[in-house]
Symmetry: C2
Subunit: 710 residues, 2 copies
């Protein structure tokens, strides 16, 4: 598949030229040439460790560099050539593009800086370069990038080293992160299939590399570091497609305010909203890591181990304390410890000393031999009640680390073995013994909690794959009352309302199918009493004013209004407080509403500048801001997506019947989310929707407030 991909020459060229190859050891052009010829620029000069095809240094000075003849220009190259790296000052680049066009090269990596990032002049230069490239059908990676690395077969970058070859395809907005991860890969003995730094993305953008990696047979898992995508929805689509083919892990730089500020001074672009990125990753089936450690641990495990069929973990250990801490870590990752079946325990009794834990974690005891590990793993590996296994070893007096590693490798290599397996030989990740496990496809980590976290990723991946195969039947909904919606929107426009008053906002949202509490409007207190008598006490009285957005902040909402005298008091009080807080604000009347109490849910919609409409659902009321117990998804979304959002709410026990509260019909809430998503997709003039609260009652969801902003 990848051999026919249009980007293939960037990863598997027939021949590579380096324009700007230099003899100066501290220059980028010199590092590039060394990396191409020898795989690394650490001083070793073993040509067989470099790119297997021809490498052409290009420099007007001619002569010879590192044993290769130097040509003065691309036109003089005689031999296969389909990739050109450029590392000369920016102003000469457009001309080299022309030379590439002339000889039929269609793939160029521009390492040079000095383009759009430096201002107007650079922008003009970039435009000129791109105009020529487009005319000639040339694709460009860069400018201002680290380059491209293909496993251990092509190091077309100016990093100091190439990674070991392996299954992780890395796309990073930060070239320096790639160099860091390469050191990390050497230290912990894992490998990369590719590493791509796109720099300023004048042409080729993230979505194309994701597509390439998705189709690349050498890439078993895709790992993406992003601060901000140029075209977020395109990248989202590519990630969605990719994750259906293979696992994808992402880490978003700038997920905190401090990080976003740092990212913005780093790339010059604003880091995207972290809620939108989180939504996009979740919806695309991408696992989002928080730290470089997680990012690499998850990618390593996903690249070599199968996804788990469930979340029931077994821990096999010769160390009690680390077993306990791993059980704690599993709990934090949302995994459960498998309850061992009696027949599993009976089988273990046959091979383990009598003092073994008789429980999971399976403590094979400090004096465990390699054979004991092998026997225990064979039994646990065959146990139906276990979905994944973490094996832990510490070096105690009788421990034979190498033989134990081999025993684990043997058990894992058994053709009957099907479950995912990760390991921690505590403190030995950088050692030869740790490397044995990695080489055999069992990812081995320095501390057991990382092995558990990596298993968590395999279990999440399995759960996501299973969910894709589960049919979710969406309830069929009556059509939206678009006539009413359009009339209400027209009325708002005609009245110059950007922030719709409550009556209009209710009209719009009720027309999507939402049920509202009993309510009416009144011009004054006497009218309000009439409305309240119709609804029944107690009622809630709320200000109507086109000038006040947060009504409750100015004392514009009174709850528990229990009788006529209290209605009068409430109206007078609101009037007084609003006049004090917003002198001159128009008070056009009062809303009188049936007081409904119960678990409060919020549905919200805002528009992200990159991803477009962003739906939110969570626990409503005053707690929404302090606990931020909300979930986000992009629009369009499916009923299954909406159910998944609801499933992310931490306090869901509260609407699942805890404390005898009414139970939420999740399908009803999901349908409401989907409906509002349809509304905002159909009417792009709606900038913001805020339904807070929606109350869970025994008769279903009842909407109370509404905010619609055009």
């Amino acid at each position: 598949m990848s051999t026919t991909h249009p980007l293939t020459p960037f990863f598997a060229p027939t021949g590579v030229a380096v324009v700007g190859a230099s003899a100066r050891p501290e220059s980028v052009g010199h590092a590039l040439l060394r990396n191409l010829l020898f795989g690394a620029s650490d001083g070793r000069e073993v040509r067989s460790e470099g790119f297997a095809g021809p490498v052409y240094p290009v420099n007007r000075k001619g002569g010879e560099l590192l044993g290769e003849p130097v040509v003065a220009s691309i036109g003089e190259i005689d031999g296969p050539l389909d990739l050109v790296l450029i590392a000369i000052p920016g102003k000469y680049v457009p001309q080299v593009i022309d030379e590439c066009a002339a000889v039929g090269v269609r793939h160029v990596i521009v390492i040079s800086a000095g383009f759009a990032e430096i201002g107007e002049e650079g922008k003009a230069l970039q435009d000129a370069m791109m105009a020529r490239a487009r005319a000639a059908g040339i694709r460009i990676i860069g400018p201002n990038c680290l380059g491209v690395i293909r496993g251990s077969s092509l190091n077309a970058s100016f990093g100091a080293a190439a990674p070991p070859a392996g299954g992780i395809g890395l796309l990073s907005q930060s070239g320096a992160l790639i160099t860091g991860i390469i050191s990390y890969a050497h230290g912990e003995r894992f490998g990369l299939s590719a590493a791509v730094s796109l720099g300023a993305k004048a042409d080729i953008d993230d979505e194309e590399i994701v597509d390439f990696l998705a189709g690349d047979p050498e890439t078993k898992a895709i790992a993406v570091y992003a601060e901000a995508f140029t075209e977020p929805t395109k990248v989202y689509e590519s990630l969605r497609n990719a994750s259906r083919i293979k696992p994808v892990v992402a880490i978003k730089g700038g997920s905190s305010a401090a990080g976003a500020k740092a990212a913005s001074s780093h790339t010059g672009a604003l880091a995207g909203s972290s809620a939108a990125y989180q939504a996009a990753f979740a919806q695309a089936g991408v696992l989002q890591a928080n730290t470089i450690g997680e990012f690499m641990a998850w990618s390593r495990a996903l690249a070599v181990q199968p996804p788990a069929k469930g979340k029931r973990l077994a821990i096999v250990t010769n160390a009690g304390g680390p077993g306990v801490l791993s059980a704690d870590a599993a709990s934090r990752c949302g995994l459960t410890l498998a309850t061992l079946a009696p027949e599993t325990i009976a089988a273990l009794n046959e091979v383990l000393p009598s003092v073994w834990s008789h429980n999971n974690p399976v403590d094979v005891i400090g004096d465990a031999t390699a054979e004991r590990y092998r026997d225990a793993l064979n039994i646990i590996g065959a146990a139906d009640e276990v979905d994944g296994i973490v094996v832990i070893m510490t070096v105690q007096a009788m421990t034979a680390p190498r033989e134990t590693a081999q025993a684990i490798i043997d058990a894992h290599a058994n053709p009957a073995w099907t479950k995912p397996l990760t390991a921690s030989f505590i403190g030995l990740a950088g050692s030869e013994v740790g490397g044995l496990l990695d080489a055999a496809g069992v990812p081995e980590f320095n501390v057991p909690e990382t092995a558990v976290s990596a298993m968590g990723a395999l279990m999440e991946r399995g759960a996501w794959l299973a969910a894709q195969e589960t049919d979710v039947v969406a309830p069929s909904l009556p059509p939206m009352d678009t006539e009413t919606i359009e009339a209400a929107l027209a009325e708002a426009r005609a009245g110059g309302q950007k922030n719709l008053d409550l009556a209009l906002a209710r009209k719009v949202l009720a027309a999507t199918g939402l049920r509202y509490n009993g309510s009416g409007t009144a011009a004054d207190a006497e009218e309000a009493i009439g409305v309240a008598e119709g609804i029944g006490y107690p009622v809630v009285i709320k200000l109507i004013s086109p000038d006040v957005i947060h009504k409750s902040d100015v004392g514009g909402v009174v709850l528990n209004v229990a009788g006529p005298a209290e209605v009068r008091e409430a109206c007078a009080g609101i009037r007084e407080r609003v006049e004090a807080a917003h002198p001159g604000a128009r008070i056009t009347g009062f809303t009188v509403e049936e007081q409904v109490s119960g678990t409060e849910i919020i549905i919200g919609m805002s528009r992200d500048p990159g991803f477009g409409p962003l739906m939110m659902v969570g626990m409503g009321g005053v707690f929404v801001e302090v606990y931020k117990d909300v979930a986000f998804r992009l629009v369009p979304l499916t009923h299954a997506d909406a159910l998944e959002m609801i499933g992310e709410i931490r306090a869901q026990a509260l609407f699942d019947g805890a404390r005898k509260r009414p139970v939420l019909n999740r399908d009803e809430l999901a349908a409401a989310i989907v409906r509002i998503a349809e509304l905002v997709q159909r009417y792009p003039e709606i900038a913001e929707v805020d339904l807070n609260p929606l109350v869970v009652t025994t008769d279903g969801l009842v909407a109370i407030d509404a905010r619609v902003i055009l």
Copy 2:
């Protein structure tokens, strides 16, 4: 100081005997002897790397072992001797204790198993051993333990290796965790001053080792792994004392339900309640880690770097992406990024290329030389607006890792340097370059988020030390009305009430000084109307029944009762629902209460079997269970402790005036916590107190409900 400590011979003996020394390579007695003689049992036999004093193998067979003459019994030893290790079958141990007594040895490590953990017979053996030891004034570590390691000078354990010498004093309930950490210490090049595994703790217990390490000049930071302490309050006191002298880090195995179950099959003892341990650690000034990675990273940093004077972090990096991710990590750890002063930026402008970030993280750019790092660190190190520094490096084409490490070491060694510093040379933790930094006292980690987390520990430690020096003035409170309390408790006892009815519970708590909402009791609906008219509508009506604990779960609470008709309806409804849910439950009347609404806070007290009374404060209402936004402390507690608890509540914005809500007077809440702590300390018959909710009003705290259980 440590030379005069009574436990000193365990760590610095004059001579050591090994009873049960053996020629069989796979035996514990052989490993012990090798470790004593050569420092490790990995096969190398370099006597100068072992214990410097005499080592006496003891075995009835006599002869020679590993070059040392074997004696048949302790009595035959001729030479200095004050520590005996025993590794023979349990039944022979008491006799060896007698032999020790005879020659005046007072310090014994019993490695052997087969004591209380195996049942009655073993228990009797353990009692016999301890009786003889006590009679002779002999102190015992063990039985069933790994042993004791003193830096690189004494390996009196059967682990496979000794750690490098360093500043971390490790006390671990798990011997296997010690062996894991020793491997980890070798891999990441840090060191231990001591490692102690106490095994079954027949005699010497955690608090004594903590005391020893607190006074030990070689120990710069204490690290404790615990599943359950034998005498929690004693260990708490020792930790409290120790943390005043030097930093202490703890990790609790079994903090999750799954982990607690694992711990219980591991040690046979129930793991202590994780809330109580968390409270004890916080109150003792101990930093509690969640993972082995944090445990070691924090201990390493605290052992070699000074605490920070504030939480303003500066990041110096040659890698943009890792800088951004570190800023995100800092935000997760509760650190702020320092805002660089104009003069700091001006100074950096002089030494950095023009494209540097002009901001914190200080991006010194991918081509940074060692000199550039040194210059930047000299400036940041002198900047008043910075409290701590994390320095990050990735190996890029022009990077000189060794020179950069040296530049950092130089900056750090400058006598003017005062701030804490941690580093991440990404992926190089196990390498020689990483080791250079560690050797110079700059803890270096594989991934930058760990360097940030370690800096977080230095900042937490600094904040805790500063808090100890801050005088907190507790408001003076009127004395408790002990007469009323005692009368109420007597009434409860007389009435056989274990769960006090609301009126009695209110009486007890009001007598501590808490203010209650207007309230009265009524035998029936007609009486309730009278009470309600006196209080003013709306009111809350609640069931009074000695048989129902969770009133609201059975529909025993009706809110918003707005008039006489509604009072009748509410009383009838409660009667009906309670009869349905609890047929036969006694309904002795109704409470009628002023309805008070506002931010709801909970104060609770329960008794932990190990630590005694445990105070809780947090966000009340229905959210207490789902968000568990609560903090715990042990009793007795100070006003400052109570304020600290309040400061741990995540949703505190809600009582700090967010959304125009009434602002909490923290002193008033803290005083209430201290008061209830005094109450339960004075009246141990009170088993549980639950004040949910306490409402924050503009007039102060108003208590509404109350649960007191004897």
